[in-house]
């Protein structure tokens, strides 16, 4: 069974991807690490950054490890290092 998920991009990652978000049709039980392979097919540089842990990944607004299994309806985001504050 497959599920449809959305991956959001922010800041410089949005510029790299050339878009705000991507839709992926993935198999149930897919981990974020496996998802990074799909992202690499779409935007190679971004997939590599996920693998090399240069960006964090959030699922439903919490940063999670790469072995997290993606569930139907999850909101996933690739997050470059934060620089808020001042």
């Amino acid at each position: 069974m497959s599920i449809m998920i959305t991956v959001k991009y922010f800041a410089n990652l949005k510029q790299m991807a050339g878009k705000d978000e991507d839709q992926f049709d993935i198999s149930e039980g897919t981990t974020l690490e496996q998802l990074s392979d799909l992202i690499r097919q779409s935007v190679p540089q971004l997939g590599d950054m996920v693998r090399e842990k240069k960006v964090m990944i959030s699922v439903n607004y919490d940063v999670v490890p790469l072995d997290t299994v993606v569930k139907d309806g999850d909101e996933i985001a690739l997050l470059p290092p934060f620089s808020g504050g001042m």
Binding site: K8, F10, A11, N12, Q15, S58, Y61, V63, A77, L79, P80, P81, F82, S83, G84, G85, M86
Partner: protein, 145 residues
């Protein structure tokens, strides 16, 4: 995104009045005896580069959620009475307000500690990004101390 003064955690484009925000927080309790504030502002120089303008982007919902968590933890862990956190996004000129944290407590010690912890935690956990415009072009800032 909320701009109403009654919300103690806000991300907004508009500037804020530090005085109005402090007066609002003083109404939280008649037991407040000390207030510590941290105000972050746009500076002109960063790593030797002249900055002409700043732009902040955030991840809606997650950023507000993280600021809410910081406020709740600060109140619980440092024993302060209340805290507000306001962060601006969008275009910000040099010298303008960026972020305001107000920690209110019965005594000063806990408010100093809570305020310092909160700004460090904001920078560590809150999905907000800064883009600087310099003479060399636009740069997304990676992390700041």
């Amino acid at each position: 995104m909320s701009t109403a003064l009654e919300s103690k955690v806000r991300i907004q484009r508009e500037d804020f009045s530090v005085t109005d925000e402090i007066e609002f927080m003083k109404k939280s309790s008649r037991n407040i005896g000390g207030i510590t504030t941290f105000l972050g502002t746009g500076r002109e120089l960063n790593k030797g580069e002249n900055i002409s303008e700043l732009n902040f982007e955030h991840y809606p919902q997650m950023a507000e959620k993280k600021l809410g968590e910081i406020r709740e933890r600060a109140i619980k862990d440092f024993g302060i009475i209340d805290m507000s956190i306001i962060h601006r996004i969008g275009h910000i000129d040099i010298g303008e307000n960026i972020v305001l944290i107000i920690a209110c407590g019965e005594h000063r010690q806990e408010t100093f500690k809570a305020c310092e912890w909160a700004i460090a935690e904001l920078k560590r956990t809150t999905p907000i990004w800064k883009r600087e415009t310099t003479t060399k072009g636009e740069v997304w800032v990676q992390a700041t101390p």
